[in-house]
């Protein structure tokens, strides 16, 4: 995106430095946002390639392409890379680009920490990916790394995995602290909390969740490290530890984590639906309260991931009802999105298509989540492809579609150029079809009893697995088109107006397109 900013060398602002050092030393929120977004796209392609290895192996029953040991490494790395390398950095990148512009701040509150929090990430993933070439191979215990599978029975590379998780955690925590300090202290006069754009609200809540749970994850991997190397027995039954304790600690982090990956999506989709409905968003304050309730509830539902470990009945009931309670604020949000579109003058540009697909497909993922919340049903669904279908529905057409929607929606502001609408729509439809062909059949094979995380399966699951694999390759290949569209837009194209979209509101649309290197060096006036 360097071409973008060149135009503004002649104005009174300082332009960016030249060459590679610009990106290494930058403390500019827009540069760092760009770095995060490109990094997450690279991780998305690597994690996606691993997903295709998995789907290629599952195309037919029997062992075809990879060894089971390597298959296990693929499922582990696919999960870790997509979560910590794909979705989370993409949202941090969007926060960097948008939060200061949306609240009328000149930059993030802690620009140098911002640089650090980005630049340690490539090292984390370098360490994680290098474990593929180590003796014993990469981590092979699934992204949830349950002990003792990840301690007593882990390959030696687990230590590198632990350090890379530490670095990712440090990066996320620094990013989150930056977001909170920025939002709490750098809003332009007049931008009160209940006037903040919903994306800013969603990130404020997300950042608090990150600060609360990433240190717990760091604690969990530190305990693993101590069990493996320093003779402690946190999770070792022989020494008085308890493997179930690991699951409690992990999911105490893990459940808020899933909302960390969806709350910013809620914010993005609210903006896009509002813009292309040409109406004010329905139920702004209920949206804020819904996100807050979801965030608070996320701390008291973790054990619904562990219904089959032998929890006492009272605990199963508590976690079942608490989980179902989350459907209420989520339902409020879906209702508000639909109500915003109701009687609006809708147009269906690419961001809107992705946003509507988000609402529909995320709701499907939410409903399968409700099914999984039912304790007796979960005993049947646990660790089957139904779970895989569920969380991919909320993460791929949920989180990832919202990120793509955000890129299409804001890229004219970032680059100054309109993307190719025809190609954007093509990308949308290919992704939409691909994602559903991939994941919808996984509901069927899951309900029929196919367990997750195996490289082989019984013959009765063959047809739907083949369909799923075809869909996965369609979805995967169409992301190359996405890369092409983004590059084409960055390099040129129809010039975007400042407002870009007819119905767009918010401070970020009041600055020039492309957004100058420095914006809001004097705070804007907001009524």
């Amino acid at each position: 995106m360097s071409a973008v900013i060149e135009n503004h060398h002649d104005d009174h602002h300082h332009g960016p430095a030249k060459g590679l050092t610009r990106w290494l030393y930058t403390t500019n929120h827009k540069d760092i946002g760009t770095l995060y977004l490109w990094f997450s796209f690279a991780m998305f392609l690597i994690g996606g390639a691993m997903a295709l290895v998995i789907r290629a192996e599952l195309f037919q029953p029997g062992m075809q392409i990879v060894e089971p040991e390597f298959y296990n490494q693929m499922i582990t790395l696919h999960g870790l890379i997509m979560i910590f390398g794909g979705v989370m950095p993409a949202f941090v990148g969007l926060a960097n680009w948008l939060v200061p512009m949306m609240i009328g701040a000149p930059d993030m509150a802690l620009p140098r920490m911002n640089n650090l929090s980005f630049w340690i990430l490539p090292f984390a993933f370098f360490i994680l990916l290098s474990s593929l070439f180590m003796e014993g191979g990469a981590p092979n215990f699934g992204w949830t790394f349950y002990a003792p599978l990840s301690t007593t029975y882990a390959p030696p590379s687990v230590t590198f995995f632990i350090f890379s998780v530490h670095i990712m955690g440090a990066s996320s925590i620094m990013g989150a602290i930056n977001v909170v300090v920025t939002i709490m202290n750098m809003r332009a006069p007049g931008v009160t909390l209940m006037k903040m754009p919903l994306f800013v609200w969603s990130w404020l809540i997300t950042a608090y969740l990150l600060i609360a749970v990433m240190p717990v994850l760091a604690g969990a991997v530190t305990m693993m490290l101590m069990d493996i190397h320093f003779g402690t027995s946190f999770f070792n039954a022989a020494g008085g530890g308890d493997p179930v304790l690991f699951q409690h600690i992990f999911w105490f982090f893990g459940h808020p984590e899933v909302y960390i990956m969806i709350l910013p999506a809620f914010g993005i989709v609210s903006h896009i639906i509002e813009t292309f409905s040409r109406k004010q968003l329905f139920g702004y304050s209920s949206m804020v309260w819904a996100m807050l309730s979801i965030a608070i509830l996320s701390f008291v539902v973790w054990a619904h991931h562990m219904f089959t470990v032998g929890l006492p009945l009272a605990a199963e009931l508590f976690f079942m009802w608490a989980t179902m309670l989350i459907a209420v604020p989520t339902g409020v949000k879906v209702f508000n999105w639909v109500a915003t579109m109701f009687k609006g003058s809708l147009t269906f540009e690419t961001p809107m298509l992705f946003a509507i697909a988000f609402v529909v497909l995320f709701t499907i993922g939410g409903l399968s989540g409700l099914m999984l919340a039912i304790v007796p049903a979960d005993f049947q669904y646990h660790d089957t492809y139904f779970v895989v279908a569920h969380f991919h529905y909320v993460l791929v057409p949920g989180a990832i579609f919202s990120i793509m929607a955000a890129v299409y929606y804001w890229i004219p502001k970032w680059s100054g150029n309109m993307y190719d609408e025809r190609l954007g729509k093509l990308h949308f439809w290919l992704s939409f079809i691909g994602v559903n062909v991939t994941f919808f059949p996984q509901h069927f094979i899951g309900l029929a009893g196919m367990p997750r995380r195996y490289p082989d399966y019984a013959l009765q699951f063959a047809d739907w697995n083949m369909v799923s694999s075809v869909g996965a390759f369609l979805f995967g290949v169409s992301q190359i088109l996405f890369l092409f569209i983004v590059l084409k837009t960055v390099m040129g194209g129809k010039k975007a107006t400042d407002q870009v979209w007819e119905g767009a509101r918010g401070l970020e649309w009041t600055v020039a397109s492309p957004a100058p290197y420095h914006t809001f060096t004097t705070p804007p006036k907001v009524d």
Partner: protein, 190 residues
Amino acid sequence: MNSEAKKTLRRLVIAVPLMFAFGFALVPLYNVFCEVTGINGKVFQTDDAKDLVIEDGRPLGLQFISTNNENMPWIFKPSEEVMTISTGEYYTATYYVKNTTNKTMTAQAVPSVAPSNAAAHLKKLECFCFEQQELAPGEDALLPVRLLVSDELPKNIKNIILSYTIFDVTEYDDEAVAQVDNEGHHGMEH
């Protein structure tokens, strides 16, 4: 950065190590929670609880199970698989254990009780699971567990299963690590 922002920053920076510590605090919290509620089938040592002893208890089936953890070669089995006992009275049961190998080994037994809501009412005055057992090659022993089931046991429970898993903890510190390394190397052969 203004002083308000510094205050926010300071609070957040303090929150991080606190949450890190909270992660570790979950370990004792979990154990205390299990001890208080008696869930998870965990049984803890009781001091001599004379006030629990009563004379007109109700009959109860007590079943003993033994499991050897993965590569544990010892013979480990209950002397009696089923006992009929009465609540509010002390009983002593024994497990037979024999080191079948030609080296001295140390073992640790880890107990579990089913149904889990019986665990809080099972009082152990003495149990071999409270300490490690070291046996010379070919040596055998009878390991005692002295227990009482409190009369407050829910009336719908007619049988309790007491299970022990025996782990090899010989040179646990050094060898466990070495063993992991070996398995890692083994994985490379594929």
